[in-house]
Subunit: 125 residues, 2 copies
């Protein structure tokens, strides 16, 4: 997902992979989703997903920012305050993310059952 050392990724030029490179990062989906209904602050994200580390939160937000998906508004005050919001460009991804949410809602339960099932089979060997 990092691309610094990967100036010409996706040699085959697959547009699907390209989109996934933008939004498919480990936490980008959930971060994006929670910005749909408005700007969020750094620690709000931490509350939403407690298992993300500070480091990863920063990194993922910075990648989204570098791709022009999110806007980072810094308030120079004490204590500092930073707000993240979707850019107009980022909004063009909104329908895709919303569809992913719907699909996830509709299918997670069934799929998790299937997964733990195949796990059982593996362990029975």
């Amino acid at each position: 997902m990092s691309r610094k050392n990967n100036i010409y990724p996706n040699k085959e030029g697959c547009p699907v992979e390209f989109t996934l490179d933008v939004i498919g990062g480990k936490w980008k989906g959930i971060l994006f989703y929670h910005m749909i209904d408005g700007k969020k602050r750094f620690n709000e994200f931490r509350k939403i997903c407690p298992s993300i580390t500070q480091r990863m939160l920063t990194l993922q937000l910075r990648e989204l920012e570098a791709d022009g998906i999110v806007h980072r508004e810094v308030y120079h005050q004490v204590p500092p305050k930073v707000e993240y919001s979707l850019t107009e460009f980022g909004r063009t991804l909104e329908p895709i993310v919303l569809q992913m949410k719907e699909w996830g809602d509709a299918n997670r339960e069934a799929l998790e059952a299937r997964r733990s099932n195949s796990l059982l089979k593996e362990q029975q060997k």
Copy 2:
């Protein structure tokens, strides 16, 4: 992306992340996309994306199969022949993948320009 050692991933239960876990693997998008217009054989995939290794191709296809997204049809003959196709369940992801393709087509050029631009700035420091 691997889930074997991760029975309860996505503790926060974010459906977006869940969908990404299913289709967001490094090669799953492109593999899925090329199955939309019909079944594909192992080596067809290798021609489509020459930079994927056999190992990764196998692993990614197996995960898609384990999630019930693709069907794996084995013909017991010499030489062997295996065909991969989308299941009915897998087809429910089709609109999402197609949208990702469209978005990628529409925005890749601009985004790659932006990326190499920020790379230049970094190097000038």
